[in-house]
């Protein structure tokens, strides 16, 4: 790649990156290969702007448009919003029923009514169960009202589910809470349906199913946000512990199977006074026994019982029990506790991520303001170099503040920036010229640059007294700044952008050269000292 760089230049990865960015932005490869038609030249803004659009349409209509896709920090788009933007809804005369159903479901009056009904249901059930056995005839109207209330509540729940289905059938099943609601309602509906159909007998089953009405109060969990958060955190913690539980199951298996074999003599012995005789008889019993040992319940009694049989070797049985206790009950249980604690901490941190993100953005904002401040401090002192520079700075400074505050209004934004870009590019040209000349150390420009840097030196000196040095400050705030600017777009005029990239690349080479010159000077100084 000798022809890639100018002759005699060293390889700088930063300069290479800038050049590749230039090639990428302008699609130079396609242009140089003669495929200029394949490069999109217009942006989406021009299409949406009616005046521009007319001009484009009058011209060549086969132009390519460049879309820029960026992840924006958007809140969740609700189903209602999505439906409102669909073409079918916008072209119809009446809004569809699902929109109304969605509105009703989200209306706070309705949700509070449902919560109230759930409470009422619980109370009604409690009273009903108390009164179930008493045959006091005076309480019969009360029983009737309770029964009617229970039916009414059930009907309302069914209506709510129907509304949810009306709103969007497929999304209903994706939400786990809705599926839970559905099953609870069906379970409480089942005994009534069965009675209606006429299946008699087996009243125990029906009683049980009736009791499932109680499960409806569990629907309460879905309504309150705090409970939801806790349950979600629990489920996530359990999910991350799947491998741990698998490992635990493997150990359960190992000890259960080994237990059956180890205690064969114990199972086969004919002594009558063994309390735990059947505990290791076959695999299922052995599994239960291993679980009993895991909870450390009566393990010593079990062990002493096995010692009663003389054929069982004491050493192996005690090794078995003690090893399992240490491994399973002490070590594993504490590993589970430790993992749950770490997971809860992680989950809490993630749920607070929103807050930390806002904090970082806030800091980045402050940092931006600081930068503007510094440029402002600089502008009155740099009057000596060139008037155009100060004019440009003063002109760019209110524009930049405009940019910061009115970042939402893009059209105004772009107009202001175009003006500032044009002046700023001129500024940069003069600045880079100065840097180039300073590296070649011609006298006139070096004097102006030294005066410029002395003025900035003064201001820097006073600035940097009370805080961190500039480099660490920048490095700390840079990532926040990088993330922050996702909503702002900068409109560049094309040739200035090209010039900007070119200048930036040359700047890297010049900086490198200056560094090398500095090193030569230091070397010369060292040699001078030796004399």
């Amino acid at each position: 790649m000798a022809t890639y760089h100018q002759a005699g230049h060293m390889q700088l990865p930063r300069a290479d990156a800038i050049r590749s960015r230039l090639i990428d932005t302008f699609s130079l490869i396609e242009h140089l290969q003669g495929l200029s038609q394949a490069v999109p030249r217009h942006t989406i803004r021009e299409i949406l702007d009616p005046s521009h659009q007319k001009k484009l349409m009058l011209g060549d209509q086969h132009q390519l448009v460049r879309f820029s896709i960026k992840p924006r920090r958007v809140e969740r788009i609700t189903h209602g919003q999505r439906m409102m933007s669909s073409l079918r809804v916008r072209c119809s005369q009446r809004p569809p029923l699902s929109l109304w159903a969605g509105w009703v479901l989200e209306c706070p009056l309705f949700t509070n009514f449902i919560i109230f009904l759930i409470f009422l249901n619980t109370i009604v059930l409690m009273v009903e169960i108390e009164l179930l056995e008493s045959s006091n005839t005076k309480l019969w109207p009360l029983k009737l009202t309770l029964e009617v209330a229970a039916w009414f509540i059930l009907l309302i729940f069914i209506l709510e589910i129907l509304l949810m289905w009306l709103s969007s059938f497929f999304l209903f099943w994706k939400n786990a809470w809705n599926v839970f609601d559905f099953f609870v309602t069906i379970l409480s509906l089942l005994p009534e349906v069965v009675v209606l159909v006429g299946v008699t007998g087996q009243s125990v089953w029906l009683q049980l199913l009736r009791i499932c009405r109680v499960l409806r109060s569990l629907k309460l969990f879905a309504r309150f946000r705090q409970i939801r958060v806790i349950i979600l955190a629990l489920v996530r913690a359990l999910k991350s512990m799947t491998f741990l539980l698998m490992l635990l199951l493997i150990f359960f298996y190992i000890f259960a199977v080994a237990g059956v074999y180890f205690f064969e003599d114990y199972t086969r012995s004919t002594r009558q006074d063994l309390e735990y005789h059947m505990f290791f008889s076959d695999l299922l019993n052995s599994l239960v026994t291993v679980f009993i040992l895991f909870t450390m319940d009566h393990w010593y009694a079990l062990l002493q019982d096995t010692w009663k049989v003389p054929e069982v070797s004491r050493a192996f049985s005690s090794i078995y029990v003690i090893l399992w206790l240490l491994l399973g009950s002490i070590i594993f249980r504490n590993i589970i506790v430790a993992m749950m604690v770490t997971n809860f901490q992680n989950i809490r941190n993630e749920l607070n991520e929103e807050m930390t993100h806002l904090e970082v953005q806030h800091k980045a904002d402050i940092f931006k303001r600081q930068i503007i401040q510094r440029r402002q401090n600089l502008s009155p002192e740099a009057l000596r170099s060139s008037l155009s520079k100060t004019d440009a700075r003063d002109a760019s400074q209110p524009e930049e503040s405009l940019v910061l505050e009115a970042s939402q209004e893009k059209s105004q934004h772009s107009a202001a920036e175009e003006g500032s870009r044009a002046s700023a590019s001129k500024t940069k040209e003069s600045l880079s010229k100065m840097k180039k000349s300073s590296s070649s150390s011609s006298s006139s420009s070096s004097s102006s640059s030294s005066s410029y840097s002395s003025s900035s030196y003064d201001s820097r000196y006073f600035d940097s007294l009370g805080q961190l040095d500039w480099e660490t400050h920048v490095h700390q705030n840079l990532p926040g700044l990088m993330e922050m600017d996702q909503d702002e777009r900068v409109v560049w005029p094309r040739d200035s952008l090209f010039r900007y990239f070119e200048l930036l690349e040359k700047l890297q080479y010049n900086l490198e050269e200056r560094k090398r010159l500095q090193e030569f000077a230091v070397q010369a100084l060292m040699n001078f000292e030796d004399k």
Binding site: R45, R494, L511
Partner: protein, 352 residues
């Protein structure tokens, strides 16, 4: 390790585990005896062939991986019943123990499951702490065991059952530490009217169960957090490195394209990149807008960069001034030195 091999091994091991469950029941073993023998033969042959294959591939590094050592141990345990049968005859009392150890075969599954392996590495780093806490617990129990033996295990009026010899004393103390059925043990000591027994038991329970076992939990929590954080950081770094490498590849490809383009046009008239794009530049118009939203062309970046460069300039200027001062001072010193020598020599002459 190809996918097919992994699938074969995992299915073999699961089948083996399942068949082990079947053979625990004596009746099934009796009825399906031939199946038992044949399946054992098949499994043993599969395991030994896997061992030989892996050893053949990499003889020296095979022994460095922990999971391969686990495989070796399991192969040895598989062969133990045969060898015991041959050596000691049919009615060796410990034969069924050797049969019981066969259940360890399922541990071979761990090698093939990446999730469990990461879990074990994460947890395994806490093994050192776990071991030290256990040793501490053992030392504590040892002290109390000897104390208890002397106090309660005397042959005449002591409680020989529970404190008679050291091993039983250890068991009793472990039972106290895991607070299971300790009231019964305490009852036996009370029946014999020992004065200090209650204090002894209560102190030991406080120390072992409350302090030690809770400390166990605390220590594990801290270490698990650390190791998980380290693990996540390593994962991030790895991902970052691969991302950087991919970016480099893209960059290189672009550079190659441009140089190729220039090579083809070289004989025409362009000599360098800037001349190549001269013509392109002329087509760019000032009123053509380009909307960019990347960080490198945004205003804050430009401001920050220019401010940093200014800062750099001032630092270099300061450095230069310092250098000039050093040179100045050194030159002054140089001038002073010969004068001093002259004055010293003149003094000596005067003294003489």
């Amino acid at each position: 390790m190809s996918r097919l091999f992994k699938i074969i091994m995992i299915s073999t091991i699961s089948m083996n585990a399942f068949s082990l469950v079947l053979w625990t029941d004596y009746k099934t073993r009796y009825k399906l005896f031939t199946l038992y023998e044949v399946s054992e033969l098949i499994f043993v042959s599969i395991y030994s062939s896997e061992f030989c294959m892996k050893l053949y591939v990499d003889p020296i590094n095979y022994w460095k991986d922990g999971y391969n050592l686990l495989d070796v141990i399991i192969i040895i345990t598989v062969f133990i019943p045969y060898s015991l049968h041959k050596i000691k005859g049919k009615h060796y009392p410990y034969l069924h123990i050797a049969d019981g150890i066969q259940s360890l075969r399922i541990l071979k599954l761990i090698t093939y499951s990446r999730g469990i392996r990461t879990l074990i590495t994460a947890v395994g780093q806490t093994a050192y702490t776990v071991a030290s806490v256990l040793i501490l617990l053992f030392v504590l129990m040892y002290i109390f065991a000897i104390l208890g033996f002397c106090l309660f295990g005397a042959p005449d009026r002591g409680d020989l059952n529970n404190w008679g010899n050291l091993a039983v004393a250890f068991f009793t103390l472990f039972s106290l530490a895991t607070v299971d059925g300790w009231t019964d043990l305490q009852q036996q000591l009370d029946d014999r009217n020992f004065a200090l027994s209650r204090t002894f038991t209560i102190i030991f329970i406080l120390l072992a169960s409350f302090v030690f076992l809770s400390m166990f939990v605390g220590v594990m929590i801290i270490h698990t957090e650390d190791s998980i954080k380290k693990f996540k950081r390593e994962l991030m770094v790895e991902r970052h490195v691969t991302l950087m490498e991919e970016k480099q590849v893209i960059l290189k490809r672009q550079q190659e394209e441009v140089s190729r383009l220039m090579q083809t046009r070289k004989n025409v008239d362009y000599k360098s990149f800037s001349e190549l794009v001269e013509i392109f530049k002329k087509t760019l118009r000032h009123t053509d807008p380009m909307v960019l939203d990347d960080f490198g062309t945004s205003l804050p970046f430009i401001d920050v960069y220019l401010s940093t460069l200014d800062n750099q300039d001032t630092t270099i200027y300061k450095l230069q001034e310092l250098y000039y001062e050093i040179v100045h001072v050194l030159s002054l010193m140089l001038e002073d030195l010969p004068q001093k020598e002259q004055s010293q020599s003149s003094e000596k002459v005067d003294e003489k």
